[in-house]
């Protein structure tokens, strides 16, 4: 790993924690994540791909742990693996769409898919090459601590005292997210609304 990142990491961890980020675990988890991702796409049976996706999510949670962000890892397990994936499996089982109709629809739109993938690939390559210039020194400065007060101050600056926080520069993004959720909920209600 490049020295800058390593030293930055070491300073941020509190002294009591022995380094968990041993290379062996890192490669294991990263490998698992990639393998899971590949499996998700290649599997014909939708339940298998869902399981593979769960595998990926869990290994990513492991990666977060290695980044000394247990809270994010736990959130990842609860929200993604425990919550959303269960509902995914629910939908797969309940709707039980036959495979044939899926394939026919999939085949017709593959040109659009490929072009979108190429666009995304170009974006990644561009960011990777120009890395330094684009994000000069935006290293992860968020230090992990079990003290919720510290986290609050880090996230929301000094105003993060108990109860009087305001989102500062994140307000706009927060509103968009909630709007998105609202749309999703309405969609769900309309789609499942049977003539009772």
């Amino acid at each position: 790993m490049n020295p800058v990142l390593n030293s930055a990491l070491n300073t941020t961890i509190n002294p009591g924690m022995a380094p968990v980020a041993t290379p062996f675990f890192f490669y294991l988890l990263a490998g698992l994540a990639i393998a899971g991702g590949v499996l998700v796409i290649t599997r014909r049976n939708s339940v298998h791909s869902a399981l593979a996706l769960i595998g990926t999510l869990l290994s990513v949670a492991g990666l977060y742990l290695m980044l000394y962000a247990p809270f994010v890892a736990a959130a990842q397990i609860i929200v993604y693996a425990g919550g959303i994936m269960v509902l995914f499996l629910f939908v797969i089982m309940l709707v039980n769409i036959e495979r044939v109709s899926k394939e026919r629809r999939f085949n017709r739109i593959w040109p659009a898919g490929v072009s979108a993938a190429c666009g995304l690939m170009a974006l990644f390559v561009f960011a990777f090459v120009k890395g330094k210039a684009l994000f000069p020194d935006r290293l992860m400065t968020l230090r992990e601590s079990s003290n919720t007060q510290e986290i609050a101050t880090m996230l929301y600056g000094e105003r993060g005292k108990m109860g009087q926080y305001s989102f500062g520069q994140y307000t706009f993004t927060f509103e968009i997210a909630s709007l998105l959720l609202l749309v999703a909920i309405l969609g769900a209600v309309i789609m499942t609304k049977k003539k009772m």
Partner: protein
């Protein structure tokens, strides 16, 4: 070698913190063995207690008073043929019980049997537990799907919907407990399990008694939600024999089926240990602050020994009253051996307790202290286990839609209310 071992015995830091993988492995093995023994004991107690509730005797043939029945069951299940339905999904069918088991046992890495008796003290302990226990629902969904037959699918969907909806109520109840931890001097709460128990110690009250109605209410919600979470007693819609034959594990047989049973019991113990840690002050003995005097300290440290002595006495009375017919001779010997085993454990514990009292810094003192912690924790969990059985004997089963109604329309609003009330009271007091 001894001082090497001794140094570890005396360690006051959980292996996780000490970063010592080897010692953590030992702890994990101890906990696995402990939980398996607990599951075996639970199996026996459930059958006997349920039987005595229903004015019958329960297993009496296999070993004295059916003591060897769980072992016989385990053997039977191992020898049973492992049938996989024809078009079942081989891989998924094989993986499902493993997911269930993984979810059930992963929780034990964080359960604190004592201030330093836990595999690792994650600072997100309670979150990790909720996350992993919600993975259990995956195992069930996938099992229902893989059996590729009508009833298990419906059973699986039902039990998953039930688990997901009760997780919400459970999570909120847990949050209100965690809120209480932040009312100590430093004003910052903690998610780590050991931290929660220490907070209860500092605040001198178990959270069940804190802000009187709120703590109890949150505890009640958690107690109800945890029964639904493990598909037990009044909420056992999944294996409602009368309609869906046996729910999601209909197609399983033999060892694979026993994995599901193991997962269910392990989940029950895990969930009730969360309740104990959060509301009933984990490993703390009753009235730790009030009765500080060394005399009290000593009497409480005698409790483990006395309990085993009581058990040994019961077993002894059992051997004495065993009928003298030749058929019972072996059983009488068996029960006698069991009684003497219990008696010897009792003696050992009493010895440690007495030795511990005399010299404070000696290994024995720390040993008896450690035993005390584990004993009180296990005692509280055992009470919960008995409640599970009691519910199963008395309550009929909820219908599925009533179950969901209770989950969403009753438990959720109350737990939200309790959460808000705890927050308000907390801010006002601190």
């Amino acid at each position: 070698m001894p001082n090497f071992v001794m140094s570890y015995l005396g360690s006051t830091v959980t292996p996780g913190q000490a970063g010592n993988q080897f010692w953590a492995l030992i702890y994990v093995l101890i906990i696995f063995a402990g939980v398996s023994v607990a599951v075996v004991a639970m199996n026996w107690i459930e059958r006997k207690a349920l039987a005595h509730f229903q004015i019958r005797l329960g297993p009496m043939r296999v070993g004295p008073h059916g003591l060897l029945q769980p072992i016989a069951d385990a053997l039977k299940l191992m020898l049973k043929e492992d049938i996989i339905p024809a078009e079942a999904d081989q891989f998924v069918f094989w993986v499902a019980p493993l997911i269930g088991l993984l979810a059930a046992f992963a929780v034990y890495t964080v359960i604190p049997f004592g201030p330093s008796q836990a595999v690792s003290d994650m600072n997100i302990g309670i979150l990790f537990m909720l996350g992993v226990s919600s993975l259990g629902a995956l195992g069930i969904v996938v099992a229902g799907w893989a059996s590729n037959s009508h009833y298990p699918l419906i059973g699986a969907l039902r039990s998953t919907a039930q688990m997901v909806s009760y997780e919400v109520a459970m999570g909120l109840a847990v949050v209100s407990a965690v809120l209480m931890t932040s009312l100590n001097s430093t004003g910052t709460g903690t998610l780590s399990m050991i931290g929660i128990v220490q907070a209860q110690q500092q605040q001198g009250t178990w959270f069940i008694f804190k802000f009187f109605p709120l703590g109890l209410l949150a505890f009640m919600i958690f107690a109800i939600a945890m029964i639904a979470e493990t598909n037990r007693a009044p909420f056992d819609m999944a294996e409602a024999e009368s309609e869906l034959t046996a729910g999601y594990h209909t197609e399983y047989s033999g060892l694979r089926w026993s994995l599901f049973m193991l997962a269910e019991y392990a989940a029950m113990i895990a969930v009730s240990s969360i309740a104990v840690t959060l509301w009933l002050g984990g490993w703390m003995r009753p009235f730790p602050n009030l009765l500080q005097a060394p005399l009290w300290e000593f009497t409480f440290s005698l409790f483990p020994g006395l309990t085993f002595l009581g058990l040994a006495a019961i077993a002894g009375v059992g051997t004495a009253r065993m009928p003298s017919h030749s058929f019972f001779r072996i059983q009488r010997i068996g029960l006698g051996v069991f009684a003497s085993l219990l008696a010897s454990i009792a003696l050992l514990l009493l010895l440690i307790a007495v030795a511990g009292r005399s010299a404070d810094t000696s290994i024995a003192a720390r040993f008896s202290e450690g035993i005390g912690y584990v004993y009180w924790f296990v005692l509280k969990v055992a009470i919960f286990m008995y409640l599970f059985i009691w519910y199963r004997a008395t309550w009929p089963r909820y219908r599925f839609d009533q179950l969901m109604r209770v989950g969403w329309k009753v438990l959720l609003p109350i737990s939200l209310g309790v959460l808000i009330a705890t927050a308000i009271v907390g801010v006002i007091i601190s």
